[in-house]
Symmetry: C2
Subunit: 402 residues, 2 copies
C-alpha cells in the first residue's frame, strides 16, 4: 500500500441552507478543498461522494457523476458511496484505498447531505431506513428510540448519569459556538437544560432517558478532502503548496456488527467501535494514549461517552466521569469533539465522516484560533458510526515532520 | 497494484421474483459466488454491494451492512456503491482497488436490484432520477426519450436502420432463451416484430424510432463475485479449488461525460465509452481485436451497436452492418451479449455490472453448454453504462494459463 496524504481540506458552514441544492453544497465544499490543495495543473483522477439521502430526499441518483460534470473535472471517475451515517467515512475509505492501490493519484472525497428538506417525523423516517425492515422499524423502533434504550442499559450497567450526558451537551455546544462551520451557535446553561424548574420545558424528554439536547440537530452541510500518494507529494513538492504542514492517513479500520441490538450478546458492547479503532491504531502503530485530539460520533451524547471508552481512551464506566472531570475538554487529557461534534457542528449524515477528518486536519496543521486549537497536536482519531454501531469506521491521522 | 483474480462467480435467475426481498436476492447470489469460490476456512474481509434503488424503492439504506449480518460474515467491512445503472460495475471497481491496494485479501462483490416493485411510469420515474434535475427531467426527458433522440441522431449520421436494431433484438432474445439466468425466455420472429402487418401491434413504438422490443425489461435479480490477490491464490492453491481455470481482472477503465446530452459537442459520440475501454485495454496490454467475447450494456438496442463501435470492435457506422452480417453472433468475429444481454437476461440495474463479469467468467472458464460457449475464449470485455453514458466502466478479463 502506498502512504496517502491529505493535501486539501475544506467545508461549508453546516445548518439550514435553504438556498443551496445538495449539488451546490457538494460543489462548494469541493472547491474549498481543491483550492486548499493548490493542485495547479494537476487533474483530479477520481471523485468519491459520501451521501445517504440523495435518492430518498432529493430523488436523485448517481450524484457523483453529476458533481464531476458540475466541477468540470471530466472525465474523472465518479462514485457515490452510501453507508448510512457512516457514508462520509466510507467515501474517505474508498478514496484512500484507491490511492493506496496505485490506480489513482489525485482523489477528491466529498461528503454532503441536504436533510432540512425532511424535518419532524419525516427526518425520523428517513434515518430509520437504516434499521431492520423486518425486525425493527415496523415495530416502532427509531434511531432515537434505540439510543434511549441503549442509554438506559448503559446507565444501569456502568453508572452513567444524566449529569454526565448534560456535561457532554454543554461542552459540545460551548465548542460549537466557537466554530464558524457549526450549525448550533447557542451556548446552553446547565441550569437552563438540567437543574432548574424550567429545564423540563427547555429540554424535554425525547426518548427516555435522553432529552432534546442529547441529540444532534438535523442539518444541511458538506465537507471535502483531497488525497494523493505521499511519495508523489514529496517528489512534486514545488508544484504544490509546500508551506502547509503535511497530514497523512496513518491508520484505518472498519468493522460491522449485527444490525439489530437484541442480537448482540451484550447490547452495551459496541464491538464494531472497538474493532475499527484497534485496526486503525494497529495500522498506524499507535495506542489510544498517543492520540491528542479526537472527533467521535456523538449523534447522541451517550455515544461520545461510550465511544471514548470503546476506543480505549477510558476504561468502561469511566467515560462519563472523565467528561465530568473535564478530561475531554480542550486542554484536558484527550480533547473530544473540539469542533462541537455532531451535537453542535451538526450531522448532515453523508458529510459527517468527511467533516470529522477535515476538523482533525485543521487541528494537526495547528491552524485554528487559540480558543479551539489543541496545542501541539500530532495525532488525531475519528470515529464514524453507521446504523446503531453496525458499521463503524475509524481513521488515525498524523502530522508528518517535514 | 496487486493482480486480482476472480475466484468465485454466481448469479440467480433474473426476472420477476415477487417472493424474494432485495436482501434475499443479494444473499442468494452471494452464497452462490462464495460456494463457487470454495473459500473453506478463509474469511471474507469486505463486502461491496452495487445497488441503485434500495433507498427509493425499498426505503432501506446501508444494505451492505445488513447483508454482512445476514450472511454471518461479521465483522467484514461493508460498503454500498450507487452509480445509477453502473452501480454493479462500480462495486466491482471498488472491490478490485481494495484488493489491489493490499488492504483486503478476500472481497465479495454483489450487485442486485428489486425493480419489479416499480413498473410502468413509476419505473420510468425511478430510472429518471439519474437525469439532470434542473435541465432534463422537469422538461419531460426520460431515459427512453433520451435513447430515442440518440438513436435518431445515430441513424442520420451513421446510416443505422431499424433493421439493424431488430437484428440485435432477435440475436439477444434468441441467446437469452438459452440462458437459464435470463429474464426473457421468449424467442421473437423477425416477422412478428418487424415486417408483418401485425408487428406494429406486437412491437409498438416507444420513443421513436425505438420500439418496445428495443428496450430491456424491468427485472429483479442479483449477481456476485469473489476477489482475491493472484499471488495469494497461487500460494494457497491447495486450500482453494485448484481444478477451476483461473480468471483475472487484467484491465479496468472508467470515465465520465457531461450529464446532459445537449452539452456534448457531438451527442452521438460516447466519449466515456471510448475512454473507459481504452484505459482497460491499456492496463491489460490488449487491443480490441484480442477480445473473444464481450458483454455490452444494451439497455436499448442502439447502445449495443454504438458501444461495439466506440470500444473499437468496428469503425463508426459499421456496427449495425456487422450485426446484420452476423459478426456479433456466437461463432462470429466478436460474439456480443451471448448471455442475452440486458435486452434478454434483464437489467436489474445494480446487478448488471456484476452479472456481465459473471457471464464473462463463465465464458473464460469454458464451462457453458456448447450452444452458448465461445470456443477457446481467453479474453473478455464488459462495458457498464451509467446515466446516458455519463459514467462508464469497462473491465478486461483474462483466462490465465496454469
Amino acid at each position: 500500500m502506498r502512504d496517502v496524504a491529505i493535501i486539501g481540506a475544506g467545508m461549508i458552514p453546516f445548518g439550514r441552507r435553504d438556498e443551496d441544492s445538495l449539488m451546490d453544497m457538494l460543489a462548494y465544499a469541493s472547491l474549498k478543498a481543491l483550492d486548499d490543495a493548490g493542485l495547479g495543473d494537476k487533474s483530479v483522477d477520481a471523485v468519491y461522494v459520501g451521501n445517504m439521502g440523495g435518492g430518498i430526499i432529493q430523488h436523485q441518483t448517481a450524484i457523483a457523476s453529476s458533481l464531476v460534470d458540475r466541477l468540470s473535472l471530466l472525465p474523472a471517475a465518479a462514485e457515490t458511496i452510501e453507508n448510512g451515517p457512516a457514508s462520509g467515512g466510507s467515501a474517505v475509505k474508498n478514496g484512500l484505498l484507491a490511492v493506496a492501490s496505485g490506480y489513482y493519484d489525485y482523489v477528491l472525497v466529498v461528503g454532503g447531505e441536504k436533510m432540512r428538506e425532511v424535518t419532524g417525523w419525516r427526518a425520523t423516517d428517513f434515518v430509520a431506513t437504516m434499521t431492520h425492515p423486518g425486525a425493527e422499524y415496523p415495530y416502532g423502533i427509531t434511531l432515537p428510540g434505540m439510543a434511549g434504550m441503549f442509554t438506559r442499559l448503559y446507565m444501569e450497567k456502568y453508572g452513567v448519569t444524566r449529569e454526565h450526558l448534560v456535561t457532554v451537551t454543554l461542552k459540545n455546544q460551548e465548542m460549537g459556538a466557537l466554530n464558524p462551520y457549526a450549525h448550533v451557535e447557542m451556548v446552553l446553561s446547565r441550569e437552563g437544560i438540567f437543574d432548574s424548574p424550567h429545564s423540563i420545558v427547555n429540554n424535554p424528554p425525547m426518548a427516555d432517558p435522553l432529552h432534546l439536547y442529547d441529540a444532534c440537530p438535523v442539518s444541511d452541510g458538506a465537507a471535502a478532502i483531497v488525497l494523493c500518494p505521499l511519495d508523489m507529494l514529496k517528489a512534486e513538492k514545488k508544484s504544490l503548496d509546500a508551506s502547509k504542514p503535511l497530514v497523512v492517513i496513518a491508520g484505518f479500520g472498519q468493522a460491522t456488527d449485527t444490525q439489530t441490538l437484541q442480537e448482540r450478546e451484550d447490547p452495551t458492547d459496541l464491538k464494531a467501535v472497538t474493532l475499527a479503532a484497534q485496526k486503525a491504531f494497529e495500522m498506524a502503530k499507535l495506542k489510544p494514549g498517543d492520540i491528542h485530539v479526537a472527533e467521535l460520533h456523538d449523534a447522541f451524547t451517550i455515544l461520545e461517552i461510550a465511544e471514548s471508552e470503546h476506543v480505549g481512551f477510558f476504561k468502561k464506566g469511566e467515560g462519563g466521569k472523565a467528561a465530568m472531570a473535564g478530561k475531554t475538554r480542550l486542554g484536558g487529557q484527550i480533547p473530544i469533539n473540539v469542533s462541537g461534534g455532531l451535537k453542535a457542528r451538526g450531522h448532515p449524515v453523508g458529510a459527517t465522516g468527511v467533516a470529522q477528518v477535515v476538523d482533525i486536519v485543521f487541528q494537526l496543521r495547528h491552524e485554528l484560533p487559540k480558543t479551539r486549537q489543541v496545542k501541539n497536536a500530532m495525532n488525531g482519531l475519528t470515529v464514524n458510526f453507521g446504523g446503531f454501531g453496525n458499521n463503524v469506521l475509524a481513521f488515525v491521522l498524523r502530522r508528518v515532520q517535514q
